[in-house]
Structures are given as C-alpha cells and as structure tokens.
C-alpha cells in the first residue's frame, strides 16, 4: 500500500472531522432568524448521525475479515448488527425518548427512582463501553499499521491519546453534522472501491472458482508470518522459505511440506508459486478447522458448537443494540417519541444498506488476498483489496479512501464511546472527583481499554464487539424492556437482574479475553454468554420483583403514562409558524 496516499487520506479524514466540528458549524448555525435557529434535527439527519456513530471498526474491517476467514456463517454478524435496531424500534425507541432520560443510568433513575439502581447501571455502562472500545483501538492499530508500517500497538495507543485529548478538550462533542458526515464518509469509502473491485473481478480472465474449494494463490505470493503459526496441509506443498519451519532453518531454499501439521516460526518468509492451495491455519490445539464448508451454514470456523454459537450471536446482537451507551444518547436529540421512532426506521435502512458491502469484501478477500488466511490478519482484507485487485495509482487511491473510511470508523465510535463512558464515570461512578471531573474521567475511560488492547494482543475485531453486545444485551435489554412494559418492576428486582445478567455476562467475557478454557462446552458458554445470561437477567428481574412487590416505586403509574402516551394529541402537530419581522 502506498504510504503517502494513505497518510494523506487518514490525516484528511481527521482534519475534515475537526474542521466541521469547530469552524464550519459555527458559521453555518449563526443566524439572526429564530425560525432557522429553532429547527430541531430532522430524523434523516439524526439517523445518519446514529449510523455514523454506530458503524465502527468492527463493521468496517471486522465483518469482511470474518467472512473471508470463516465463511458465510459470519453473515449473522451484519444481520444482527442491523436487526438490533428493529428490536429497538419496536420496544424501546419512543418510550425511552419520552422518559426524558439522556443515559441508561438516567433511565433507571427516572423509572425506578433508585440511586442504587442508577449506580449499578452506571457500572455496567462503563463495562460495555470499555469492551466496545477495545476492538476500536485494535482496528485503529491495524489500519495505522498498514498505512504507516508502525507496529500494531502503537496505532492503538496513538488513537487512544488523540481521542482522550480531543474529548477532554471539549471537541468531538456529539455534533450531529459531524457524525452524519462520518456516515457518508464510511459509506463512500466502501461503496466507491466496491464498484471498481466488482468491475475488476468481472473482467478477471479467471473468474471465481467454486467457493467450496480451498482458495489458491493466484500469482507468485510472498508471505511473512508475524507470529508463529501452525499450518494444516492436506496435499504436498512446495514453497520457497527463508526462516524456520518445523525447527529447521531455511535460507531461500526450496521447501516441500508433507500432509500434516507444520509449525512456521515468527518472521519466516514463504514464497508460493501460483496455483498453490492456501495452507490452512490449524487451531492451537490441533483440532480440525471448519473451512472446508466455507459456503455452507454452520461452518462456524473454530467453533466447536456452531449452532449454539450462532444462537449466542443472534441473542447478543439482536438484543444488545438497545444497550449501547453511545447510540442511546443520540436519541435524546429527537424532539419527541415519534421522531425517535422515525429516526430508528431510517437507521435501519442506512445501516442495512451499508452492511451489504462488507460481505462482498470478505468474498473478494478470500479470492484475491488468501495469504491473509495464512497470517491470520484477515481484518486487513478490506484495506489491501484495491491494491491486490487493481494495483497502480487507482489501487493506491482507492486504498487510501478505504483507509480514511476506516479511520472515520474507529475515530467516531471511539470518541462517542469515550464521551459516554467518561460522562457516566464522572456522574455516577466516581462522583467524588470534583468539578473538573469530566476531564479527569476521560483518562480511565480510554486508558483501561487501551492497556487491555495492548496486553490482549490479537482478538478478532468483530468477535470482540460481539462480546460487548452480549454484556449490553444481558444487562440492559431486561432493564429497558421490563422497565418500559411491566408495571411490576421494583428497584431490588432491577438491581438483582442487572447483577445476575450483566454481571454474569461480564464475568464470562472477561474470562474469555483473559484466556478461555481449552475447549468443550465451557469455552462456548463463556464465549457466547448471551444465550444464558439474557434469560437469566430477565428471570432474576421478574422473580425478585415479584418477591419484593411492596417495593414498587410510588410514581410508577405516572412514569408509565409518560412513557407510553404520545407527547401531544394526534393531529395536533405543532405548526412551525413563521411569522413576524426578523432582523432587517
């Protein structure tokens, strides 16, 4: 990838974001006309902003990588990411807006009138935010590493520092125009190259061979392995190696690998002739991988219980969207419940449209960048494709555009998350910090996931986001759905449910990141906790609420009426009268 173009594109994306955020907006919103000044954000613009904040590095890079590596099974990720808004639309959007709550702890407070419930919700919001920040920083490291050649951890740390400074200095506030611009940038950055890539693919003299087959190298390919990998080889394989393979040193000599499992040391370079089938990475414990059925459902990659994992993913993503702190705060911008609902519908369309693109990149990545399967850097598939498929200046330019889009993806999501986490930290978790506490709170908000991302190393970006969704679903789906639709919810019930569901999922996820058990059901249960933790959260909340029926908060009837009654009678839309004289 041409580094100059890449660096210019990434810098341009950051600069344009900052410029729109500070100068441009001030000019465009300065007016002497009250009619102009008091126009609320229209749903389409708000929806673009929600989508801009929502589409993270996981959507932009991660999905394509997972699809390339593990097959069509991974299409559940984009489906789930988009379908979460459907659940949000049906059960939560309008009542949540009517509640007047700005954050999730605010909702717990307004519905239950309990400071303890507020605190617990706050702690869980911070947990979800940190989990979600983790893959953003990793995506940042990946992108910047590809663009500038810096080591992965440096990019993550750099973005963490930039976001901390920007948020603490007061920039990057949730400005609708900026976030809407981010959506447009992300969509363009995937859509335009996709058109060119499709044309190139179409014009390829050797069109795609059957998907079922293991992919093959299409030209002379040189692969350098960053970390030690074990390869499973089905048929004898010839290559030129320099480095250490199976403990023997090679210096540019020919290498023949027999069927079986072989170990390639870190730093080894392999050159493959065209037509060689891509050797498959063997999982650490030598279990057979599932890549043979790439195009078949439940191929599930390394999962031992693919059906369970699929349900875990569906549970987490469908129900988790409503618990994402940085998405919910944007709903406050809607003037009323009806606008909130409209916004959600448009978000569904915008996000759904966007998610058509990453699977395409995944497919092309498998065909044209198969060496990534070998090194395991499949998250980079989106970034390297233009160079591989088109080459030349066009490839470089399109690659730079994609890099800019990826940059927008992790910057917008990371800053939105940092804002939410820092806000909750300063308000609910560490209230003793004093007046300047928001700025102080920015530091732990980013430092914790930053440290973990450096320490945890390689975690597939999209799976890490799946973990964040699982915790959000287990903690906040029961709270929101029961809080909005059930009169019987009591503060002790809510707290118990949050602790059981959210706490359980959080524990499972932490264990998974720290180092999961070797295999079997325990590993699957911990890696995909939503299947058991969401029902656990609901059940605990309902049972404890029933047991503490006398603790139903006194204002429940009024609160429910506020949540469910429209703000104004039907057919009495406020006419936006424009009347009177404005400044001459």
């Amino acid at each position: 990838m041409n580094q100059t173009y890449g660096i210019v594109a990434v810098s341009a994306a950051v600069l344009v974001t900052l410029v729109i955020g500070s100068v441009g907006l001030r000019v465009s919103r300065t007016t002497s006309d009250f009619y102009v000044a008091s126009r609320t954000v229209p749903p389409y613009l708000n929806a673009m902003a929600v989508s801009g904040e929502y589409l993270s590095a996981a959507s932009f890079l991660g999905i394509a990588g997972l699809v390339a590596a593990e097959g069509v099974e991974m299409l559940w990720f984009p489906v789930g990411y988009a379908a979460g808004y459907l659940v949000l639309l049906a059960f939560v959007a309008a009542p949540l807006r009517r509640s007047g709550a700005y954050t999730l702890p605010d909702f717990a407070d307004s519905r239950l009138g309990s400071t303890a419930a507020r605190r617990v919700a706050g702690v869980l919001v911070v947990g979800v935010g940190w989990l979600y920040l983790l893959p953003q920083l990793q995506g940042a490291g990946l992108t910047l590493g590809l663009v500038t050649g810096a080591p992965h951890w440096l990019g993550g740390v750099l973005v963490a520092v930039v976001v901390t400074l920007a948020v603490a200095a007061g920039g990057m506030r949730g400005i609708t125009f900026v976030q809407a611009f981010q959506y447009c940038l992300k969509l363009t950055a995937l859509l335009v190259p996709a058109v060119f890539l499709l044309l190139a693919w179409h014009g390829d003299p050797r069109p795609a061979r059957a998907m079922e087959e293991p992919p093959t190298f299409r030209r002379h390919t040189q692969v350098t392995v960053d970390s030690t990998v074990r390869l499973r080889i089905e048929a004898p394989l010839r290559a030129v190696a320099s480095g250490a393979v199976d403990g023997r040193a090679y210096h540019g000599g020919p290498l023949v690998l027999d069927p079986g499992v072989h170990e390639i040391r870190a730093g080894t370079t392999l050159r493959f002739p065209p037509g060689t089938p891509v050797p498959e990475r063997a999982p650490g414990d030598g279990r057979p991988g599932g890549a043979a059925g790439w195009a078949a459902p439940l191929s599930g990659g390394e999962e031992e219980h693919p059906l369970y994992a699929t349900y875990g993913l569906i549970c987490a993503t469908f129900l988790g969207t409503m618990g994402l702190p940085h998405v919910l705060v944007r709903f406050y911008t809607n003037p009323d419940g009806r606008a909130a609902r409209r916004t959600t519908v448009i978000v569904l369309a915008l996000v759904g449209g966007f998610y058509l693109l990453p699977p395409l990149y995944g497919l092309l990545g498998r065909l044209y960048a198969p060496d990534l399967l070998l090194t395991g850097d499949t998250d980079a598939a989106v970034l390297v494709l233009p160079e591989r498929l088109l080459g030349g200046t066009a490839g470089d330019l399109l690659g730079a555009l994609i890099a800019a889009g990826a940059c927008a993806a992790f910057l917008s999501t990371a800053s939105g998350l940092t804002l939410s986490v820092a806000g909750v930290l300063s308000q609910d978790v560490l209230p003793a910090l004093g007046v300047r506490r928001f700025r102080l709170a920015t530091l732990p908000a980013v430092a914790v996931p930053g440290t973990v991302s450096v320490a945890a190393g390689q975690l597939p970006v999209a799976s890490a986001v799946g973990l964040a969704f699982a915790v959000a679903a287990s903690a906040f789906c029961p709270l929101l759905v029961l809080g909005i639709w059930w009169r019987g919810l009591t503060p002790p019930g809510a707290i118990a449910g949050l602790l059981a569901g959210g706490g359980g999922a959080l524990t499972a996820v932490t264990l998974t990141i720290a180092g999961p058990p070797a295999g079997g059901w325990a590993r699957s249960l911990l890696a995909w906790p939503a299947v058991w933790s969401v029902p656990l959260g609901f059940l605990t909340m309902i049972l404890v609420s029933l047991a503490t029926r006398h603790r139903v908060p006194p204002g429940t009837e009024a609160a429910m009426a506020r949540l469910h009654l429209p703000e104004r009678p039907a057919g009495r839309d406020l006419p936006s009268t424009r009347r009177g004289v404005t400044t001459p």
Partner: protein, 428 residues
Amino acid sequence: MNGLALLAAGAPLLFAAGLAIGRLPARRAARDGTDPGTPVERATFRTLHTASVAAPPLRAGLTPDAARKAVRGLRPLFGTAALGLTAEDRLLAWEGPGRHHAEAALERVRQVLDTGRAQTFAVACADPDCPVRWGAAAPLTVDRRVPGALVVLGAGEPGSGARATEEVARWVSVQLELADLDRTRTGLIEAEVRALRAQISPHFVYNSLAAIASFVRTDPERARELLLEFADFARYSFRRHGAFTTLAEELRAVEQFLELVRARFGPRLEVTLRIAPEVLPVAVPFLCLQPLVENAVKHGLEESAGRGRITITARDEGATARIVVEDDGVGVEPDRLRRILRGEDGPTAGIGLRNVDERLRQVYGDEHGLVIETGVGAGTKVTLRVPKYRPGVHTAPPDTAPPDSEPPDTEVPGVTEPGDGGLRRLDR
C-alpha cells in the same frame, strides 16, 4: 468445565446473596436490643424502640396503609391485647383477636369523638374462646381536632391498660401533628415555587401596547401582527401548567418578545443566534431565558442611544446544555449585581435575574446558578448550564393548557379569516 462456567456466572449472584445474608443477623441483633442493663432499662429501651419503629408510617398521615403498619408496630406495647385505629368512626386497621367486637368498640369510639375524652368499658362475650374482657378508646387530637381514635381490647383486668391507651394515643397524636407539619412544609415549598414563577413585567406590557398603538394608523397590518405576537406571548407567560418547557419553546417566546421590542427600537437592535440543534429538546425551567433577554435589552438599548447587539448561544456539553445570553451594552457594576442577586437592592431592581437564578438553584442545585460576567461599559454575559436529565424534571406538553387558560383564539369576532385555521397560520 460446565461447572466452571456456572461458577463464573454465579459468582456475582453468590456475592450479593452472601452480603445480604451477612447483614441480616447483624440488623436483627441490633433490633433485639440485647445490650446488658437493668430490667427497667431494658424495658425502657424496648418501649422506645417499639415506638420509634411505629413512627415513620404515621408520618404519612392517617391512611389505611399507614394505620396498618403503625398498629402492627404498636401492638407489642399492650401484650395480648387487640389494637385498632379509626379515622372518624371508620375502622382503618385492626390487629389481634376479637374482631367481632369491632362494631361495639366503634359505638364507643363515636362517643369518644363527640366528647373528646377517653373511655374504658367492660366487654361481655358469648364466645368462651374469646380472650377479650375489657376495652378502652382514646381520642387522637391534632390541632384541637379529633380526626380519629385508638381502640384497645384486652384480656384480664383493665388495670394500667386504660392509662397506656391514653398515653399511646397522645404519642400517635404527636406523630400525626408532625405529619400535618410535613404537609404544610411541602405546600409552602410549592407555593414558593409558584410565587417564583416569572411574571411578565408591567413596563413591558405598557411599552408594547404603546408601540403597537403607534402602528395602528400608519401600518395596520404590522399592528395586527404585533398584537398577535403579544397575545401569543401573553398566553405563553400566563400558562399555569408545568414548571418546565423545552428550549425550543422558550426560544419561541423570546422571539415573540423580541418582535415586540423591535416595534419600539426598530433597527437599533441586532440579534445573533447560535443554537446547537441537539439541545433544542432539553427541558428548561419555564421562562428562564426571556428575563435574561429582557435584561440584555434593558442594558444594551434602553440605557444607551446607539445600536445594541444581543447574542444568544446554546451549546451541547454532553450531559448538560450551556446557554449564554450576551449583550454589548453598558454593563453593571459587579458589586451592585451581587446585591441584586442577594435581593438587597430594593424590590424592583433586576428582579428577573434574581428570579431565574433562584429557580435554577432550587431545581438543579447551587452549582447550576447563573454565572454573570460583567463590568461597567463592558457588556454583560449571562451563562446558565442546564442538565439534560434531572429526576422529576419533565416538560409539559405544549398547547394543552386547561380550557380556562386558553385564550379566546377563534372566538374573536372579525379577526379569524374563515378556513385559515385560526390565528396560528399566518402569512409570511
């Protein structure tokens, strides 16, 4: 392996359960009062403790729920007796045996309510298992009224029972009086809030009407529009429901206000708005912006001859919205301003500023009061920071005022053009 997963999931639950179980015995130990001491001391402690446990429910007043809890708490004071509380001659709660004597007891209660004196009476019962032998009824007196009575039915001889009944009734009366005080205090705070609601200033009414009058002959169309602005503004300021509104609504009121001011000053007044659309739905105290703008107009225009500029800015700051009203007028001496805000500078000076400041502090706490930067000749900059969410702060829906505060919109003869939907949809 399964076990490990379960353990991981159950750990927080177990922890919470352990915490609860651990605290329970500690609390019980404290309640039983197992401290050493003479029997008399122990009896005193126990009595005081029983009384203090029964007190909180009664602070809610004489309601069935409160009575039930109080009676359950007080019954141990009387040993085996049954205990009842009445409001007037309705039985609110009954604890203990002998429920079938309730009617007879209520008959006595009526007499007690009439006379205001306690009574002791013997109870004869056909049921051999019924332990009840005597009864006592004592009035509850609150502020010289007798809202109810305490009834005790006991076994054996009346003895000290009658005396205890009177004493406990007196104690309950004190609690009820405290409840009355609580209610009065809440009412007082509400009245204070109502009194603090911004009032439309009489000067403004006079000036506006005078300015409108000057247009009646020269530009009747303008005069009509201004009158409608005035009507709208008056309706907004006089509305009685809801202490909060949205920033968008408040801006609309400011617009109407400024239109009327412009009728007086013409092009001398320049207004610049810089409003982040994200904060328009934020709930703000009703009429918290208009007095600040009125103040800016006063300092920026009325006290000088040149042009005046007012800038209104609203910015999103995460969980709060920052609203700034700025003028380039004559400014105020900081000392004088301090006196105004403390309310020491006469009853009329800067009443709007002080009013807004007090209401903000009352709703959001002292850290959310007005911040005013000013100096003589340096203009004035007033900043308020409004949290986006605060428990209990909800905007009242616009335009759904009760009928009595609705202006006679469509009933003004000769003003409504047929078919144009009333006054609200005007040209321009």
